[in-house]
Subunit: 322 residues, 2 copies
Amino acid sequence: VTLARPTLQHHTPSPLPAGRRDFFAELIDRARALSTVPVAVAYPVTEVALSGALLAAQEHLIRPILVGPEAGIRAAAAAASLDLGATAIVPATDEDDAAKKAVSLCKSGEANALMKGSLHTDTFMRAVLASESGLRTSRRVSHVFVLDAPSYPRLMLITDAAINIYPTLDDKVDILKNAIDLAHALGIVEPRVAILSAVETVNPKITSTLDAAALCKMVDRGQILGAVVDGPLAFDTAVSANAAAIKGLVSPVAGVADVLLVPDLESGNMLAKQLEYLGGAELAGIVLGARVPIVLTSRADSARARLASCAVAALCARAASS
Amino acid sequence: VTLARPTLQHHTPSPLPAGRRDFFAELIDRARALSTVPVAVAYPVTEVALSGALLAAQEHLIRPILVGPEAGIRAAAAAASLDLGATAIVPATDEDDAAKKAVSLCKSGEANALMKGSLHTDTFMRAVLASESGLRTSRRVSHVFVLDAPSYPRLMLITDAAINIYPTLDDKVDILKNAIDLAHALGIVEPRVAILSAVETVNPKITSTLDAAALCKMVDRGQILGAVVDGPLAFDTAVSANAAAIKGLVSPVAGVADVLLVPDLESGNMLAKQLEYLGGAELAGIVLGARVPIVLTSRADSARARLASCAVAALCARAASS
């Protein structure tokens, strides 16, 4: 498992067109309406790491359980003028210890979601994926970007642009199932999934077109449930009914995709970053396929993106327990 | 290119149930109604090889052009008490020369189909597939068994059980297109094609299920035209609507397959031979994908199977020129 989320410059999303639904605000409202989800926050000893969790608590999205050296956590709070109030703290000596204890809280059921603080991603994910003590399930772990792009009239889920580098077809089955579960948790009853490639036709030399065909047939046969899936689709036909019409493509997904399943991490990461940096999109993110949803916020995330990520985690946690 | 058609014991097909359509008789009638097709017969110097061509000529299915040593041809005719009448003979010195000259007649348009006589299959096919002088097209060459099995209410096409050993997906595209063209030539307007495997679900470990999914999506996208295609299907669901219903499988092909595209030569050959030897089926056969249809009768074929193969070749030749 790798994580391709480099440190970003802080980025301001474009304002939404007047009258346009604000999907992030809707997600946050939706999560706020649920009972507050206990979230283990591993090693939040910097201002950025701590403020995300505390802000989400203020908004009644989560109830953080801070796991790390108490002195370090309190110092970070003081430096940022944050009030810890009655926030629970579970002492841990270092990054590794904090990761393991936060994972353990999720395993025991004391926490229903996990959030990365200011420790190294490798240390964090090693604890998550440890074969005995970790949070693995039979599902492969995968990442989903949850995007609100002003130029697209739907919430957009992009997967996997952060964890699985060159997913096999078997991996893509789990990536797809994870994304469908997430869409359901976010209130998208029957998500439309585009399996992306560079073309709409099946080309034996382009693996992503073959994988797309296989995933579609798995859906036909009921091996994957809960979504309308089509592919291969190129990005244009996935998001534009007009492009599909010009190409003469008849597809129940073309132009109305909720989920974009990308061929690999490189193409997916470029797609997500392009939408963020040139398309004015706001990005939240979530890691799925473990026993609890995992928030992997980046230092560059805006406060609203952090809140949205916590809302997504809370909605997933509540969907899993319902 | 290999040819897996071992010498068979002469085999008597089961009688058709009373009132059941006789598909071979229909094919022969259909071909007889067309203008007679000139067929180059390579090296017919045995009684069996010669009688097949002459019988088809008697029935007004083909007009044979016998290519081989004239003395040998006349000796075979005399031994079998066959009357050559005005049948054209193009002299050739040996097997290799006869194969090349027969191929050349097809290339020049003097013949519209090719029939193997009593020469070695390797010698024959080498002339057919020679890169400059042969009959290759952009399509891969493939074989189709045309079966009438008394227990199945449709004519059945099985491909490729004789030439392509382990076809790739690219090969299967051509095998499928050849079979669809053949079905059209035989009067099946919109053939139902089952892409066979051992299961109905997509299993990344079973290549034939992945190939099936890819072929279906190619049909969805208009890359392959003129047929209703579904797969993976197991043999039972391909030929039995009841088996499909019990499995809860919804498929436009299940139970009504006209064409069975098999995973590879081994499974296909066993399937065809099982239908012939234990299922009482009559088998004709044709090689497609070359510039003309090619008849590769076996010494074990019944007179009616030989006639049916000639009828199939004639129908293909006329469809290609229409």
